[in-house]
């Protein structure tokens, strides 16, 4: 059949928008924020909009516990989406950080006199983009939802327009983000040129067959004529396409050679947004990168060079992130470099993921891939919870970002200091802090790496995280052991004294902070609980 007749005879099969109903709540919430603001006064909207936003987020999170999305074997909305662990469990992780953001935002909105409706609606839209990016199965859809998320975050980073630092951070984030998306688009174009499609499932078929298959299998006189490869894959296009796409994604993930903007953006942006940039957008982008790698890893030629490239980026990220973090004096800059290092650890997992199809086959391969995905997701979840705790505490103690401002925090704000210490211990992970999620995440990830033969890489990762102990723990030492040094020019953190009302967003922030510090231990002791939750959500029972 002629391709054009194909188009004319195209019968839409699976456009059920109800499949995305749980995520549409976010969209509706965002629009509701705008409409509510249009019909009410400034004070009223400042009071009720965070409730709408948090309500939408909580509803979506609650719906993530039910098995709503189609199983991973099916694509939906014309093949544009496919859900796996990242669909529901990943969405839960993503939305957790956004929920934290909406609870911190009200005080910031009040203090800096920000436009409330725009803040909350853009937050919800960013959440919408992030959760869809985690399940995107088509490169263009992924690009568009990535842009929805990124544009919202660019604006949220710089929403405090009177603050020159924040605007400058927004500008840098925007320029480099746009630069990265140009790379991404050219990468998609070359992959499209090689495989004639932008749908990842179809792309996987092309890679399995080693070329574009056009003719369908026909049975003629009892003899089956196999589908023929009409055009062999052009390795040049595939590598160029993947390379550009990977560069673009590295920008979004803040992996090492492409991380330049991260410290500036983290320092200049407002803390709640930076928290989301560090966690949710990373989870979503990682999910997308894994889906692309999964589709492409079926091509044997592809494996070796890409392992090399991804491994290189992982090593550089780990080493550079940890080394540069050693000399930082600003808390948020330190967290930026730490986040670069954590991206490096996670890329080790991605590397294992690519290597798998060449090692195993059939049922075993599937199980192994699921295991690696779960390990990465566990790590991401741990990183998200920990970052939420540390950034949340940092915004809650509300002081300078300078590290010296944390001196003797334990004597002024004991709860905050303990929370921050827990977060720091969890971030260190390997070697010091067994019962935390940071430890378990790294343990699972490096176990996979060693199991499939990447021992050297695992050793480098462990060494790098041992280096990281220095700067994380020095902050803890500052908080716990040093007396307050009055000669310090730095304004001390935690001097704000306000009465906290029960049922206010401020108290909700505290509750979430408390919950995440508990979660760090719960997940650290029972990581299998998280994994089995994901299994039962995704594979547990059929729809």
């Amino acid at each position: 059949m002629n391709p054009i007749e194909n188009i004319q005879a195209y019968v839409p099969t699976s456009i059920h928008f109800s499949d995305l109903l749980q995520f549409a709540i976010l969209l509706l919430g965002g629009i509701a924020c705008l409409v509510f603001d249009a019909v009410s006064t400034k004070e009223v909207s400042r009071k009720y909009l965070p409730m709408i936003a948090a309500g939408a987020l909580v509803m979506t999170m609650a719906s993530c516990f039910f098995n709503i999305l189609p199983p991973p074997t099916e694509t939906f909305i014309e093949g544009a989406f496919r859900s796996d662990e990242f669909g529901q469990l990943g969405a839960l992780v993503i939305l957790f950080a956004f929920l934290m953001m909406t609870t911190i935002m009200p005080s910031l909105v009040k203090k800096r006199n920000l436009p409330a409706a725009e803040v909350y609606s853009l937050t919800l839209f960013a959440a919408f983009g992030a959760v869809l990016l985690a399940i995107a199965n088509e490169l263009l859809t992924a690009f568009i939802v990535l842009e929805i998320m990124s544009l919202s975050l660019y604006v949220l980073i710089g929403i405090d327009r009177k603050n020159a630092k924040s605007t400058e951070a927004c500008f840098k984030y925007f320029i480099l983000g746009a630069f990265a998306s140009a790379f991404l688009v050219l990468g998609i174009a070359f992959l499209f040129g090689a495989t004639h499609t932008t749908f990842l499932t179809e792309m996987a078929e092309v890679f399995k067959a080693g070329g574009v298959v056009v003719t369908e299998a026909v049975v003629e006189n009892g003899v089956t004529i196999e589908p023929a490869v009409v055009q062999a894959l052009n390795p040049m296009y595939v590598f160029l396409g993947f390379g550009l796409l990977f560069v673009g994604m590295c920008f979004k993930l803040t992996a090492a050679p492409f991380h330049m903007y991260a410290p500036d953006v983290y320092e200049g942006g407002n803390t709640p947004t930076v928290m989301v940039v560090a966690t949710s957008s990373k989870v979503a982008a990682f999910a997308f990168l894994l889906h692309v790698l999964e589709a492409m890893s079926h091509w044997p030629v592809f494996t070796q060079p890409v392992i090399f490239v991804v491994g290189f980026v992982a090593i550089v990220s780990m080493v550079w992130g940890n080394v540069a973090a050693l000399v930082q004096v600003n808390f948020k800059r330190m967290m930026a470099y730490s986040s670069i290092a954590h991206t490096g650890y996670m890329l080790v997992g991605a590397m294992v993921y690519i290597a798998l199809p060449n090692m195993l086959e059939g049922e075993k391969l599937e199980m192994a891939m699921i295991a690696v995905r779960q390990a990465i997701l566990l790590y991401l979840a741990g990183y998200t919870v920990t970052s939420v705790l540390s950034f949340g505490t940092a915004s809650y103690i509300d002081g300078e970002d300078h590290m010296d401002a944390y001196r003797g925090l334990i004597f002024r704000k004991p709860a905050a200091a303990i929370g921050m210490a827990i977060a720091m211990f969890s971030l260190v992970g390997i070697g010091f802090t067994p019962p935390t999620i940071g430890f378990m995440g790294k343990f699972y990830l490096f176990k996979e790496a060693i199991q499939y033969g990447f021992v050297a890489l695992a050793v480098i990762a462990v060494l790098a995280s041992a280096v990281s102990a220095w700067y994380y723990l020095s902050l803890v030492v500052k908080m716990f052991m040093r007396e307050v040094d009055d000669t310090q020019a730095v304004r001390l953190a935690g001097t704000r004294k306000e009465s906290v009302k029960l049922f206010s967003f401020d108290s909700m922030t505290r509750i979430i902070l408390f919950a995440s510090s508990i979660l760090i231990f719960i997940l650290g002791v029972f990581p299998t609980m998280f994994i089995s939750l994901g299994e039962s959500l995704v594979y547990g029972f059929t729809r």
Binding site: I4, A164, K172, V185, I188, T197
Partner: protein, 102 residues
């Protein structure tokens, strides 16, 4: 004639992309910087259309339409950010925006 222009178009696309990268590296004015990014997006569009024409896949045209929409959205937000930046700093010289480091 159709047979011989693909390579030329792909090379043109890569060339425009490289010029875009160079622009982002060399230019000092924020708006020129962003124009270079637009040039890179145009290069991607050219690659899409070339592939669509070479292989007879109509999809390429649609992908280009979407990318144009995204570029327009990005331009809108970006220029708004530039205006905001100009309001607080009174200039758009990129290498003098160095409040954030160290």
């Amino acid at each position: 004639m159709g047979e011989s222009i693909f390579e030329a178009n792909l090379i043109l696309s890569l060339f425009l992309f490289t010029v875009g990268i160079l622009g982002v590296m060399w230019k000092r004015n924020a708006i020129s910087l962003f124009m270079s990014v637009e040039l890179m997006l145009n290069a991607a569009n050219l690659a899409f259309v070339t592939f669509a024409f070479q292989h007879g896949i109509i999809d390429g045209g649609i992908l280009v339409l979407f990318i144009m929409t995204v570029a327009a959205a990005e331009a809108g937000v970006g220029l708004a950010i530039f205006i905001a930046l100009f309001r607080v700093r009174r200039h758009l010289r990129v290498d003098e925006h160095d409040m954030l480091h160290g």
